[in-house]
Symmetry: C2
DNA sequence: TAGTGGTCTAGACCACTGT
DNA sequence: CAGTGGTCTAGACCACTAA
């Protein structure tokens, strides 16, 4: 029985083995394509197919003119969705209302966010979660791009039914305080959240806005907030790159 | 200023546009590589680079001898981690103890799982979560591959400190009841869970065990269960393919 | 400027799918 | 069987990086 795997599979397997065994360490440069051609007696395209396999697995990263390197892990930002947005935390928070920013600042890193506010029709799935007619409903949309140490970390888009928040400070673009806080000040109190998480490859647009390296999936975290009567007040859609985030929950068994 | 994007970017953008606009519908066959070469006056490799971009985004799927097709969405299985493993659900569950199986069966699909039990050293991160010495500690490991309608859906590996579960039914391979249940019968009651979710591209091994299509990320859900005194009793690591799963949580604001 | 990876061409043969 | 995508070769030129 001869080996039936394609040549570039075997080249990739061999290099992956070197990485797994630690012969090639994170951050270390791989042999150049030219060297690999010689080592494996293969054409350049075949070598490149093998390297492509490894970059697709997130093991290798390469740059024009620089070479190929074993990929380093990021320092992940931990998002604890059981704690984030809790009112007790919010009240004790000193930096003007944004909880995300204070959590990041506590860890010694520098938060920044760009906010854009508009009024428009929500996407169909958001309308459904808010219990609105997708044809006619309008929502106030707050789109934020969140940066840590000047690098983009996440997209966070919040949707509020327009009729609920008319005339509140929410509609001023310069307001960057936590929506939970602003909502509460307007008498709209969220007592329960329904969170849904999906994960997939980024679209081209997300990839560019977040400056994502190849082979980086995103999680889409959709939080719907309800008031005491079970009426939905807000939907927040957060897009988190996989190489920079860990999502955490605490759950009490019943 | 002329557009300087590479040719295969523009070919990919053009085809992506046709898909986004609905000119090409899910399940529909794309033009053959030969036809695309003619349409865009490009070499075959260039056309293939463009198609590769689209398969990397999860938009297109291709098969040798069959052609390339616009990818269809899966029907996702919803995993509600607030409810799963709750004791109240467990007690009212009629099918012999496995909650996952009953949740799936309720939705009219056919669950099946392959279980393998062994005793061995845990990975370092699991040892740390269990508060064990990574050099010497032994754990009972239950590795399951879960299928729905004969297709692999998830990997679920549970780790128990060996000293805690010695002599319990947990160690019998044929036992497939929910670990929460078995633990409880041994007087080990989990009152709190810490869940952590990361998401990344699958390793080769995961990709093969789960028969994953290209461009399918996985979420790794790690649940650590604690008893009343805060002692860790169990770690469960679930590997979920992104094209078949939605993770859900309910959270009460405090 | 030398060396790297990125883009692109023009072929060839193979493996697999359908008819 | 004809037609598809998968693998592979042997070149060429370009864009970028670092010395």
């Amino acid at each position: 029985m001869a080996e039936q795997k394609p040549r570039y599979y075997r080249i990739a397997d061999e290099i992956r083995g070197r990485i797994d065994r630690g012969d090639l360490e994170p951050g270390q440069q791989l042999p150049t394509e030219h060297e690999l051609m010689a080592q494996y007696e293969a054409s350049r395209n075949t070598v490149r197919l093998a390297l492509r396999r490894l970059t697709d697995e997130g093991l290798v990263i390469s740059g024009q003119g620089r070479g190929s390197y074993v990929r380093r892990a990021h320092v992940p930002a931990v998002w604890d969705w059981s704690v984030l947005e809790s009112r007790s935390r919010h009240e004790s928070n000193t930096n003007g209302g944004d909880q995300w920013a204070s959590v990041v600042a506590e860890s010694g890193r520098e938060p920044r966010q760009e906010v854009r506010v508009s009024i428009r029709q929500p996407p169909a799935d958001v309308a459904e979660r808010l219990g609105l007619d997708p044809e006619t409903a309008m929502t106030v949309v707050r789109e934020r791009v969140r940066f840590i140490d000047q690098e983009p970390y996440a997209l966070a888009d919040s949707y509020f039914p327009e009729e609920l928040v008319r005339g509140t400070p929410l509609m001023k673009p310069e307001d960057v305080s936590a929506p939970g806080g602003v909502l509460a000040q307007s008498g709209l109190i969220q007592v329960r959240y329904e969170d849904e998480i999906t994960f997939r490859m980024p679209t081209r647009a997300e990839s560019e806005r977040l400056d994502l390296p190849p082979a980086t999936p995103v999680a889409v975290h959709t939080r719907t907030g309800y008031d005491k009567g079970g009426k939905p007040l807000r939907v927040m859609v957060t897009t988190l790159p996989g190489d920079r985030h860990v999502i955490r929950y605490s759950v009490l068994a019943d």
